[in-house]
């Protein structure tokens, strides 16, 4: 292989690693994406020009046309689509990558028929490429709203048997009939169908997890094709995406308090079911960490803190003042929402916060702060429970029905700091904690806030 080409591939691989690393931090993410992009561009240009084969001019013309067409279309789609449609777009592009891998496998089938290892890689590329292709397209269509969840009876059993069948079929081709075009088309068709069956029963709320999984698979398909050509950048790049994507899939599951098998074999995948689960008996809550909350606060422009009895118990009034000052210094508009009965006595919060020198004009009374919640980015609820319980508005059977509350559920995001999931003073469940917009930051108010402050200082 051309030595310059090898060196460029090495640079690209390094760019991928550094780029991925930088994508993991808010400050460097944009640059990281750019670095991997430049690496990718280099690899593409180098592949076209630095090689040792005789290439007819017509091939160059076709390559140039294909690149131009794909670049223009890809760029236009990526630029035009609304930000809210991003996840499905990622899925669409991912499907294209899978499609590319399956076509490569298809073209190369038969070219290496005497070597079982090569044939296996080709078969694997076809199977994985096909299922990510159709799977991603289905995920795209479902997020688009143009397709609903469909659950065939016994779909788990069918899918599991299907995947075993695919592997057996692939193995059969490798071992007994590695030149039959008819069999390979059958395998192709079956893999395409499997992609559809795999994604179609999965609930809308779980789609991001599935997309991440499919993304990981596309990486593996790319790596497999790389093995076929002995191409380092494809191998390492593909495996990086494969393992990073898989870990990301697990992290995403964890953030939703679900297991991967729970998502795929769907105990309760669909959005409607999830909503139905919220109620007296609870539902899913979303746990968060100090670092996640710190980032959320750091990039907000308006933050409202809702203090409650928990703040007083933990004696966290000084820390919360420190947090407020820190955010203000970073240009965030921070105020406190004071519910008249927050704490155990009227004015409890005012006294407490005045003790730690919180400036008085930052304490906003309930009636004045409620209209402001819709344009608040993040509400930080510290040790308050009943005063933010929406049951007061919408559950006539609730003991606190009719109590005026702070309408924090109107804000864009809600972070709730509590020691545990125990009910509040009134002893009732709070559906706010199961709200989609709510993240729970468990822990003693003082230590949780101290962690938050430390995270913010490091940003």
């Amino acid at each position: 292989m051309n030595i310059t080409l090898s060196i460029i591939y090495l640079f690209t691989t390094i760019a991928f690693v550094i780029g991925l690393k930088m994508l993991g931090h808010p400050q460097t993410a944009k640059k990281g994406n750019l670095i991997s992009g430049v690496g990718m561009g280099l690899a593409i240009v180098a592949t076209i020009f630095l090689h040792d084969f005789e290439v007819p001019t017509i091939n160059y013309i076709l390559i140039g046309t294909a690149l131009l067409v794909g670049t223009v279309i890809g760029y236009l789609i990526a630029i035009k689509v609304a930000m809210t449609k991003m996840p499905e777009l990622v899925s669409l592009f991912n499907g294209f990558g899978g499609g590319s891998a399956l076509l490569i496998g298809l073209i190369e089938f038969g070219n290496y028929s005497e070597d079982a290892t090569q044939t296996s890689t080709i078969i694997a590329a076809i199977i994985i490429g096909s299922l990510t292709f159709t799977g991603s397209l289905i995920a795209w269509a479902k997020l688009n709203g143009s397709m609903k969840d469909i659950r065939l009876p016994k779909y788990n059993l069918i899918n599991n048997l299907f995947v075993l069948g695919l592997i057996a079929f692939g193995a059969y081709i490798v071992m007994y009939d590695s030149t039959s075009l008819m069999l390979i088309y059958l395998l192709l068709a079956a893999s395409l169908v499997y992609g559809i069956l795999f994604v179609i029963p999965i609930g809308g709320a779980d789609m991001p997890v599935v997309i991440s999984l499919l993304n990981s698979l596309t990486g593996i398909a790319a790596a497999i094709t790389g093995v076929l050509y002995g191409n380092m950048v494809m191998m390492v790049g593909g495996i990086l995406v494969g393992s990073a994507g898989l870990i990301l899939t697990f992290i995403m599951c964890k953030a939703m308090n679900r297991s991967l098998s729970n998502v795929i074999f769907g105990a309760f995948g669909g959005g409607d079911v999830a909503i139905a689960a919220v109620g007296k008996t609870g539902g899913t809550i979303k746990k968060t960490t100090a670092s996640d909350s710190a980032i959320m606060l750091n990039y907000a422009s308006k933050v409202v803190i809702v203090p409650g009895y928990g703040l007083a118990v933990a004696q966290a009034q000084h820390v919360i003042h420190e947090l407020e000052e820190l955010l203000t210094k970073k240009g965030v508009d921070v105020t406190y929402a004071i519910h008249p009965v927050a704490g155990r006595m009227p004015g409890h919060m005012n006294v407490l916060l005045a003790e730690s020198n919180v400036s008085y004009d930052k304490l906003i009374e309930m009636d004045n702060i409620n209209p402001q919640f819709p344009n608040t980015d993040v509400v930080l609820v510290v040790g308050a429970n009943d005063v933010v319980n929406p049951a007061a508005h919408n559950d006539p059977s609730s003991p606190i029905y009719g109590m005026p509350i702070l309408d924090v559920e109107n804000a864009k995001h809600i972070i709730v700091n509590k020691r545990s999931m125990n009910a509040g003073y009134a002893g009732i469940e709070n559906e706010l904690f199961f709200n989609q917009k709510t993240s729970m930051l468990f822990g003693d108010a003082k230590s949780a806030l101290t962690e938050l402050v430390n995270e913010l200082k490091n940003m």
């Binding site: 593409i44 091939n59 390559i63 990526a78 294209f96 990981s216 790319a222 995406v241």
Partner: protein, 102 residues
Amino acid sequence: MNELVEFVSNNLQLLYILILAIFIGVELIKNVPSVLHTPLMSGANALSGVVIVGALLVMLQAKPDDYLSLGLGFVAVVLGILNVVGGFVVTDRMLQMFKKKK
């Protein structure tokens, strides 16, 4: 069994690379804050477009009269570059939101 041993000894270097790459991927992604999950997924998706290198190799080596390979290869290149360009541009757009507004 013999075949497996043979395969391993022939591809030892490859196996080293694969295993180390898996570890790097895992280490890079651990402890990423959840606000970055979607952009990260999108960025990784753009990287999986590296499969385009394979599509290019197919096109470069195809005989000018092998219309099937040329045709399928053409589509493979288009799909691959769509994945690359679209992936990077979308990620970039998502990351706009992390610009500190003053």
